[in-house]
Symmetry: D3
Subunit: 248 residues, 6 copies
């Protein structure tokens, strides 16, 4: 099967990093098709940037959805996930959603651990959108600047391990969700320093999308994610307009 | 005071209709500054269209925020409301938010009544974003096509009154929130046919934004709606980019 | 319009203080009609005193409701608010309700900050009555005696500013609700020392009641706040008895 | 032990009826001390009447609390229960509280069945005050006038049995709480016509208060129901004033 | 009346201790019939041991249910309580359930205090099964080894009193539920050292089961705890098999 | 990898049916190791039977856990899932858990559809144990007898399709979870008759357990599912006793 790995950020370095993790955990026969946002910000960290990233994600899906069997929306916070599911017929999972639902199978309470306080407000809304508040015991964030988005995983490795431990000790986390595309790949490295399982969201996402594609579920004809009726548009990207107008 | 009445839809007819209602309820001395979305769809009805409308709203705010004292995001569902609050320093209220919070002062349970089933899934997410699920007893929607977005209020007047009555009788609504910009102005007309108070969201929004502007609250320096730090952007509308990059 | 500013406490000094704030924020053309409780305690701080204050509030409303267009129940905790809405046809808002709902438009989480631990249990029930638990992140109270209810605002100014800051830092408050009639007027003075917006509940209440009166909502004929049928009474204040017996 | 059976309504017929049920289920050695409200309405049915009844209850408790070992607040809805617990040191249970908590031991979901729609809004607030919403599947009310409060139990027997059955079939009730002092004694009579257990709230209350008295729990020195500090009062019933001012 | 005091643990010393407390609080005329688990572990502390203890409890009930009027499932956590209610017609209460519901009548928030961290996860599930999360402010556990299950109550008396005080001060507990059969009898001893009421679960359970038996509720014919239809079994204890197969 | 497909029922026909579905959806290289309960009932339908089935599941796991890489607890309701996770180090998923979490990625609200009303009470507790109440809009059950557990899937095919449609139309289900091991394999057959995706829980479970095994998460050393300390046992199955006593 072919899986679109859609990075709605504009950073190619993140796309590469995510693709590496996805390929590591993918089943034999799964082909990863990476794509990077063409406009927006290098790393989505809040609601305003998520609005822009959601738009970028829709445009990439409009271009690619017929070429793949499923897609991963590869930014924690899952910008535009509901919108994407409405517009397109293929299965789509978000990094946050996949990570949190997977965590639910290894613990009662998960904590989200990430590298910047800027992300907290948006991540919290993401937990609520998934209605998983009762299972999320904390969102723990580093409160420090970092050199680059591509190397934050390495630069803060020790501090992130320590933060995960505090979530276990002080918040009662049974499992840690390492959040944010830039942290993909970290779980393995700090495994011996944290006493509970840690979820790599990109690993979780590739397994979840493979599962959904394998099950060959039908696209919904009614309900919250059914495709909306055709509608006129003005001023949009051509392929996205075509999809909304039912010309695609 | 000057209030931006920001219609993120592309329909001028809706903007005119909303401005008329806003002016009717505005205090002496309040000037309404209408604006209409320059790209997107004539009427936002789902998550995909809300992503696009949210973007349109941010662009208009980037252009206008220094010319006004406050803004109304004039589409029920409040596309991009959190994002707008993050990026800009003026008070901003959404049509849905203002309508629902006002309803909370006249009843324990409100029902949302609107003109199309297409709107249900998105409206439900809006109720949840406001964490008002415990106070919303139902979302009632007409299940019929209509001639035009500018005249749906007139065409369906009798059916909407009937729907409001069913929400009262069957769902236990103490108050009705008439939802969607196209229904602004309807509450007065069907007042005698519905036994509970009805909220016109545009009327509620103009009173709420006047209140916030009058109180002269400071913009938050920390917390969920603080302004994010400066960040590089690529490929965005100039004014919006300037705001994100802290050049504005 | 004429607005009854109903202080269910027996302290005239509080009534004066509240009236001053209400007049400061009222629109041109709004007349404030102050009233003070004739029996009970100088300052309602718990459920037992609220039962008494609620009774005092109903008696004042029985006397005044035909002379005014709306009423503010001017004690945080809103003693008897539901009862008042049932019995009388005019719009009525409570200080707590108005402050908290207004806070919902400037932050996701509000903290209530007040001057005495005696108030905590009752305020918590008030948050629950409004079903706003998910949006209230903390109730912070000073744990100290104070000289007089009329001057606690001045005496504890520095400590209250500090408490507000702790609610921001430790509880994650996006906005502060300064609670209790005696703190009305404080928000402006400590504005520069607190990094988030602060709500003066009396200011919020005057804007909310002006909005409700402007919208000219009908009184409910059914639902939770409809007027109860006529009933015999024994031993009650004459005007209140007349209202319950439908002689008024 | 001596148990005050405090009927905050003004109807002696209800007091007699309740006392009969209480005596039937009381342990040997339990003495029932009945008391009836001296002002208010014959039967409390809404929030306004509950404010008045709560006041009446506090006055009776001020008079009787030193003569008894515990008290039953004998009106479903439990007007003034929190206030009573704050002010007095003896254990006190409410009819609604006792009935609902007892129901929790015989089913997962209880339905409240009562004789008048006028009671619904107030009863719902009572369920919420006890935070038992997740266990209450319905409040079912007859929608008919009745001859007298003392005979409604007999007059509507067949209809109430039918209503209980509908709560079982349509709402999934595992157990029925027969609500309202006037229905005390009904459970036994319709036992054979309803397929689930039914709780007589007065029976439940006498067993619960006997249990609390037997356990000899200490009165709380801190927390939500600790006794408030002494405070000046004006215009109150002498004994109630004495209790608030710590002269009693 | 005869009450089965069913200790699903294998420790006779606990059974004796529980029976002593039950007899102390029982009404005149109540006979306590103790029984101890014949297989499993000396003290149930987690979900795995609860599965085993639940089985042991069902076997004892299959043997005894016709000889008694009611039963107490005498392990905090109430292993198999729902299963027991389904299979048998007599009233049954659990130690945890009885303790927590009783606590609800003396405070708004209760804290569970117990002697070992091993118990936390299972106790939390018990609170959730009872849907009392909103009323449970904390589960506080000692983090130390102890000499024997029969003497932990004495050995840790001072530490448990201190822990109860921390629950009051730091978690806002209005009432303490002393959890775990081994702590039965402790409440009285530390009464003077803790400023809020404390619930002895065995005392609460004997009063609750006496109340249920006195009320003579019918067994449910429908709903969550109705008896399941007859079913074939393989490899089970004879009496339990007979009950499931409707031969008993 | 080797996956234990643990059917805690005593019906071999169910084990065969489940194994067929599991093999159909398993990745190349996944070996399914089926096992059937040696005591209990042919089909677990309620809490009492779940207690017994949970015990049977623990015994099978005690025997097999070192021979496999992961396990599926193959009865909807997941009897003993938490207990199993505590005792054993391999990843384990339940049929219900896997089905519901997978459903969360294709709709906002799922409905559970099953073949017998006997299952409702127990399934509801399972939804609550997973804290997914906000996402489960209904549990729909056929109310009819059936010939055999092995053929109920075929016998009731048309009625189950109809029931799924009612869940969509009347409960607003976005996705259907076909619940109960006997329905495994049905989703494909009725796909064209139901307008929303349907989850085959056995298919979901095999994909979820494959994902967990692939991620090679560590077993928790602390938290809710850590392995309990060694403890003495009496009267248990040898292998289970060995595991609890830390001899295995």
């Amino acid at each position: 099967m072919k899986i679109l790995l859609l990075n709605p950020n504009t950073s190619d370095v993140l796309t590469d990093q995510l693709a590496e993790v996805a390929r590591k955990y993918a089943a034999a026969g799964t082909e990863i098709v990476p794509a990077t946002g063409t406009f927006g910000v290098p790393y989505i960290a809040n609601r305003a940037e998520a609005v822009i990233g959601a738009n970028a994600a829709l445009e990439i899906l409009a271009q690619q959805h017929r070429n793949v069997d499923g897609a991963i929306l590869a930014a924690f916070g899952d910008p535009g996930l509901g919108a994407a599911r409405e517009l397109f017929d293929i299965p789509i999972v978000g990094l946050a959603e996949a990570g949190m639902l997977t965590a639910c199978m290894v613990g009662k309470k998960f904590a989200i651990v990430t590298f910047s306080t800027a992300l907290g407000a948006w991540y919290r809304e993401c937990v609520e959108w998934n209605q998983l508040q009762d299972r999320c015991c904390a969102i723990r964030m580093l409160d420090q600047s970092f050199k680059s988005i591509g190397s934050v995983r390495d630069e803060k490795e020790a501090l992130l391990a320590e933060l995960a431990n505090r979530a276990v000790e002080e918040d009662g986390a049974d499992v840690i969700v390492l959040a944010g595309a830039p942290l993909s790949g970290l779980a393995d490295r700090i495994r011996d320093r944290v006493p509970v399982p840690m979820i790599d969201c990109c690993a979780a996402a590739i397994k979840q999308i493979e599962g959904l594609v394998t099950m060959q579920l039908k696209a919904p004809e009614v309900g919250t994610f059914r495709r909306p009726g055709a509608k006129d548009t003005r001023g949009l990207n051509d392929l996205l307009a075509a999809r909304i107008e039912h010309r695609d």
